[in-house]
């Protein structure tokens, strides 16, 4: 923990019109670790990820990559830093084959023409490197793959680019038991290979099975980021549903309240604007 985190977010704010979705969020990710990002629906997980991925730009706060401040304005900026996101349902184009999908947006060219042999070989090597053996042909359309295979291809696509951070948005949400196990094994292998992995999940079993750290969001605020070994299942559930658990989580006096009741009279002036913006 003493080493610099690979990615560090400090005080990220994000609003959509009058709705403040992220409020002063801190978040850090270490290489070689799986950091789980958990939270109830609407807690801001997806928004946070999209800020990192360059889909949205944050209204405030800073992003440090390798200790250096960076600005991520679009998906290409994120990709240039080595940040890859695997979106839940949106990762792949059904009518393209596996190789075409893995290289989409970053095709290899020789002159004007697509360099298919090189792309095919790199795709094969990446899949082999991840010990993926379930795919029959690299030229089959993604629509013909099973859910687990699709997720595998999506993850392989993310690691193809010497990426350093892979963010997985609910990678197991639509999968059966055996396929979930396969994907989680793959997630663990990514971290063991030295990548920083962010796992967004609703499933506590998955989170406890593979993560090293857990970061909990509650109504747009980062409740806590803790080592997985230091918390229990029940504590995590309480933190993401109520924002606090015993001594952990948000405390009412700090003025970090979310504008419903307690935060109003004793919050510092900067908070009043955000509380006001909330209604």
């Amino acid at each position: 923990m003493s080493a610099t985190p690979l990615l560090e977010l400090r005080g990220i704010d994000k609003s959509f019109g009058p709705v403040q979705v992220l409020r002063d969020v801190d978040f850090s990710v270490n290489p070689g670790e799986v950091t789980a990002l958990v939270g109830d629906n609407g807690a801001g997980k997806s928004t946070l990820v999209k800020c990192v991925a360059g889909i949205y730009s944050a209204d405030g706060g800073e992003v440090l990559f390798d200790g250096r401040p960076v600005h991520i304005h679009n998906p290409r900026d994120a990709a240039a830093l080595g940040i890859e996101v695997v979106y839940q349902d949106l990762a792949l184009c059904d009518n393209l084959d596996i190789v075409q999908n893995m290289f989409l947006g970053r095709e290899k060219r020789s002159g004007l023409v697509l360099d298919e042999p090189t792309m095919e070989q790199m795709a094969a090597e990446t899949l082999a490197g991840l010990s993926v053996r379930t795919v029959k042909s690299l030229r089959q359309h993604v629509s013909s793959l099973s859910g687990g295979q699709r997720q595998t291809v999506a993850i392989a696509k993310a690691v193809l680019w010497n990426s350093r951070i892979v963010i997985l948005d609910e990678p197991t949400a639509a999968l059966g038991v055996a396929q979930t196990a396969q994907v989680l094994e793959l997630v663990r292998r990514l971290a063991d290979n030295g990548l920083a992995v962010v796992l967004i999940s609703h499933n506590m079993n998955d989170v406890f099975a593979v993560s090293d750290q857990i970061a909990m969001l509650y109504l747009g605020q980062m409740v806590a980021q803790l080592r997985t070994s230091d918390v229990t299942h029940a504590q995590v559930v309480e933190l993401i549903t109520a924002g606090r658990s015993g001594g952990l989580g948000l405390t009412g006096e700090t003025g970090n309240g979310n504008g419903n009741g307690n935060g109003k009279q004793d919050s510092p002036p900067t908070e009043t604007t955000s509380a006001g913006a909330d209604r």
Partner: protein
């Protein structure tokens, strides 16, 4: 389902690695299987039609008839290839027929007013620009204002036709000088310019779609625009380029039609948009996007042309021919659906 997957996994953990499998897979891009599988299903129908007509009539396989057929089909094919680009992005361009009319009269009026002394090339460029401009308007409304392509191009269909009638006062522009009519009338190595041009365009667009990044993006946008956008595909630029090209190719079709007919008719091209869509669908394109090829559109246009030509040669009632072509569209779409269902079942 899960047990089956595990079986697959275990079965595949054999001696051959995925790398090996990837390499043994047949060298992509132009295998016969992939041709048939990827929007080239019209080819067998085309071959059958040619064989049938050659046997049934003495007149089909004559130089004059084939030349005539080629000239007829060429203009439709060029417009259909433009239409295909839009269809690949899961859009549709209803304005191409009106663009044919507009560009035809723009080119015709330009050469008519200068009585052939001005530059024909300039007239052609002017007409192409008009087509590209209408295409761009379509593109901007679809890509940036997110309006549905059907409505957008329905609007520009009306506008372009109205402008054509205004521009000409509803009158036909004729006669046109030889320097202009020779574009479509001329030939090179014994084959009509029109046919050369069509083949060239089909090859160029086919190459662009299959072998360049732009083509890959066109299919990606048609397949899943949201995931394409998230991967960093410039979805807006791709859509703009596709509509602009469709407009430009339609304009080219209009210029060639005016050149072939030797006059600028303000109502030329009426209904061509539907012919173009029919050619694409018969050639294996899916209106849901991301499926189809330039050669497929060419084949589709040829099939429609052959049916018309063959029907005339065989003395079939042209009214029945319309019924037949309509039915063929339904068959093409039906086969496409069946194939899709089989694919899904295989993949499940």
């Amino acid at each position: 389902m899960t047990t089956r997957d595990r079986e697959v996994t275990e079965a595949a953990v054999g001696p051959e690695s995925p790398t090996g499998q990837g390499k043994t897979a047949e060298p992509e891009v132009l295998g016969l299987g992939s041709l048939l599988g990827r929007g080239f299903g019209g080819l067998p129908v085309l071959v059958l039609l040619v064989l049938g007509l050659s046997l049934a009539t003495d007149t089909f396989l004559t130089g004059t008839n084939l030349d005539n057929l080629g000239r007829q089909v060429s203009i439709y094919a060029i417009i259909a290839i433009g239409q295909l680009l839009v269809i690949l992005t899961a859009g549709i361009d209803l304005s191409v027929g009106s663009v044919v009319g507009l560009s035809g009269v723009i080119a015709a009026k330009a050469v008519f007013d200068t009585a052939g002394s001005g530059s024909v090339l300039l007239a052609v460029l002017l007409a192409l620009l008009a087509g590209a401009a209408i295409g761009l308007v379509n593109g901007v409304l679809v890509a940036i204002l997110k309006m549905p392509p059907f409505i957008v191009t329905l609007g520009t269909l009306g506008m372009a036709r109205g402008l054509t009638l205004l521009y000409t006062d509803g009158r036909t522009i004729q006669p046109l000088p030889r320097s202009f009519t020779s574009i479509a009338g001329g030939e090179f190595l014994g084959i009509a310019n029109l046919i050369w041009l069509t083949v060239l365009i089909a090859l160029l667009v086919g190459f662009g779609l299959r072998r360049t990044v732009w083509g890959r993006y066109v299919y990606a946008v048609g397949s899943n625009p949201e995931s394409a956008r998230l991967t960093g595909v410039p979805v807006r630029s791709v859509l703009l380029s596709v509509y602009a090209l469709a407009g430009t190719l339609a304009a080219l079709g209009g210029i060639l039609l005016a050149s072939r007919l030797g006059n600028g008719v303000p109502t030329a091209g009426t209904g061509y948009e539907l012919q173009a869509i029919a050619a694409c669908v018969i050639g294996g394109a899916s209106l849901f996007g991301a499926r189809g090829s330039a050669l497929g559109a060419l084949v589709g246009a040829l099939i429609v042309g052959l049916l018309n030509n063959g029907g005339t040669l065989l003395g079939i009632d042209p009214f029945w021919l319309q019924v037949a072509i309509g039915a063929l569209i339904l068959v093409a779409v039906g086969v496409d659906q069946l194939q899709g269902r089989r694919r899904v079942r295989r993949g499940a």
